[in-house]
Amino acid sequence: MTSSERKWALVILVIVLSAYILPYTILTNEATWYGSFLLWTVLTLIIIGVNYFITRDWSK
């Protein structure tokens, strides 16, 4: 793994853990659209951004 890959892998790990932990803890009683629905949607959008950056220099 290159050092930049390691950095991104860590970011992804944190996002994945949040996607498992937050909905079952602090959001478990938040029965609104801005509860788990919004969290998972936003985390996925962040991941799409992360993938954009990881692959930024795949130009050839």
Binding site: W33, S36, F37, W40, T41, I48, S59, K60
Partner: protein, 489 residues
């Protein structure tokens, strides 16, 4: 929906798809590389759409909508965690691609066999894929049968639907191998996402916009907006569902083989980013369908009826309903034809070539083409028989294929991995998953996939530590990839 209407839509769909398939026939497809990998020259846009169509079967618009109907927002979390897992492609994609290009691998199991320097590795891994994916295809075929039977009130019998899907999957694979599959996939993916999104806009509009939609949900069915909510998505259930899918992009050969195909790293990037965007939209669409059905038809006998009921309700204009129904059928077929093609390449390349020595590329291709209808026939028969074991294997497919993941990670990241480690982890892991699924036992409340992954990882590491690794090959293989990634353009 009237039967004539449905037939008309099906005929129009077939004519357009066949036209596209024939247009795709340019370029050479008379060798293994050409037929199964499109000469490694697929452009990014087609790769992205085809990857989407292959991944998303009829499961999404029927199954995921149904899962939302029964369990609420947890279904969204499940499917989005899968999508987050596709980030693995950002790490493994260039590695697969570089290795495939240098060593000429046609299948992922061929790569494992070469990397661990053992033919049995290639044979066992490819047979394991067939063991789980043929039943999975059979269930997809049955899905088409039930769908057509359901929406036409038995006017199109189950067998007719299954037969139709089988024949179309064979034709799409036969016309030009992966080229015709990729191009028809692309057409079907666009069709699926556009029509299903239109349905979302129509229903959201009818329910008073997004504000009205969520307000109704929050006041009438608030339990659907949290996990565990109504209890359906307990944390262990959620783990059991998401873990196998998180690794889907590596474990399932019909998608990991796609990593060999793009024309360049730039095309690979387009494939990944395009797929993520597609998956994000398609997931939201399917979940909104499920929510809508739970608001409008809260008393369905079976959650899988959520989508058919929604489509035949007065929420959706009848013509659009028929079009979307054909789109769901296309989604199933576009998954089956890719699996069909991948499995036949696995058989020709990893089983036939390794069992019978000195086979030419031409002979392998001939065997591969011969096997396509045989696998399709098997899937068709399994779909007809509706055996319990087939259903079990199909459900177990994402969990069962997970046992190959430690070996794949080891391929690129651990010099110490050995063939004995791979063979033990895959064979024992797959056996364990099947036994757990048949007996319906969940030790410690955890699903079969989690146990399969855990046991196969432990076995892979331990057996490897006590056996001799192919050091020369490992150093050469990993050294080459490291070198190229360092000066990655």
């Amino acid at each position: 929906m009237t039967t004539t209407f449905v037939w008309l839509a099906i005929v129009i769909y077939i004519v357009i798809a066949l036209f596209i398939a024939f247009l795709s026939r340019h370029g050479s497809h008379t060798n293994m590389d050409g037929y199964f990998l499109g000469n490694r020259k697929l452009n990014g846009f087609v790769s992205a759409l085809s990857y989407s169509a292959t991944t998303y079967s009829a499961f999404m618009l029927v199954g995921l909508a149904g899962l939302t109907y029964s369990g609420g927002v947890g279904a969204l979390g499940f499917e989005l965690i899968y999508l987050i897992g596709v980030s693995l492609v950002a790490f493994f994609g260039p590695r697969f691609w570089l290795a495939g290009k240098k060593y000429g691998y046609v299948t992922p199991s061929e790569m494992l066999g070469d990397r661990y320097q053992n033919k049995m590795v290639a044979i066992v891994v490819s047979l394991t894929s067939c063991l789980f994916l043929i039943p999975y295809s059979a269930v997809q075929l049955s899905g088409v049968g039930y769908l057509l039977q359901g929406v036409t009130d038995n006017a199109i019998p189950f067998t007719t639907g299954v037969l139709l899907a089988t024949i179309l999957a064979i034709i799409y694979s036969y016309i030009a191998g992966i080229r015709s599959v990729a191009w028809t996939d692309s057409l079907q993916a666009l069709f699926m996402v556009v029509t299903s999104t239109i349905v979302v806009f129509i229903i959201i509009n009818r329910l008073g916009g997004f504000d009205g939609f969520f307000h109704t949900l929050e006041t009438e069915r608030s339990e659907l907006l949290t996990v565990p909510g109504n209890g359906y998505f307990s944390f262990t259930t959620f783990l059991g569902l998401t873990i196998p899918w998180f690794f889907f992009s590596l474990s399932n050969p019909q998608v990991s083989q796609r990593l060999f195909m793009p024309a360049s790293l730039k095309s690979l990037r387009t494939m990944l980013m395009g797929f993520l965007a597609f998956g994000f939209i398609y997931t939201l669409v399917s979940v909104i369908w499920g929510f809508t059905a739970s608001l409008q038809f809260p008393d369905l006998a079976n959650a899988d009826l959520a989508t058919p009921t929604l489509l035949s309700s007065d929420f959706v204009p009848p013509i659009l309903g028929v079009i979307v129904m054909v789109g769901i059928m296309a989604a199933a077929i576009s998954t089956i034809d890719s699996i069909l093609l991948t499995l036949s390449s696995l058989f020709a390349r990893d089983v036939y070539r390794n069992v019978k020595n000195n086979t030419s590329d031409q002979m392998q291709l001939r065997v591969g083409k011969l096997v396509i209808p045989v696998i399709a026939l098997l899937a068709f028969l399994f779909a007809q028989l509706e055996l319990n074991l087939i259903a079990v294997l199909s459900v177990a497919s994402s969990a069962g294929l997970l046992v190959v993941v430690p070996a794949i990670i080891g391929t690129f990241f651990w010099k110490g991995g050995t063939a004995a480690g791979v063979l033990t982890s895959v064979i024992v892991g797959a056996f364990l998953v099947i036994m757990l699924e048949i007996s319906q036992v969940k030790p410690l409340g955890l699903a079969s996939g989690i146990w399969g992954l855990l046991v196969s990882t432990i076995l892979f590491v331990f057996v490897s530590l006590f056996t001799k690794a192919p050091e020369e090959k490992a150093s050469e293989f990993l050294g080459y990839i490291k070198e190229l990634l360092k000066r990655k353009p």
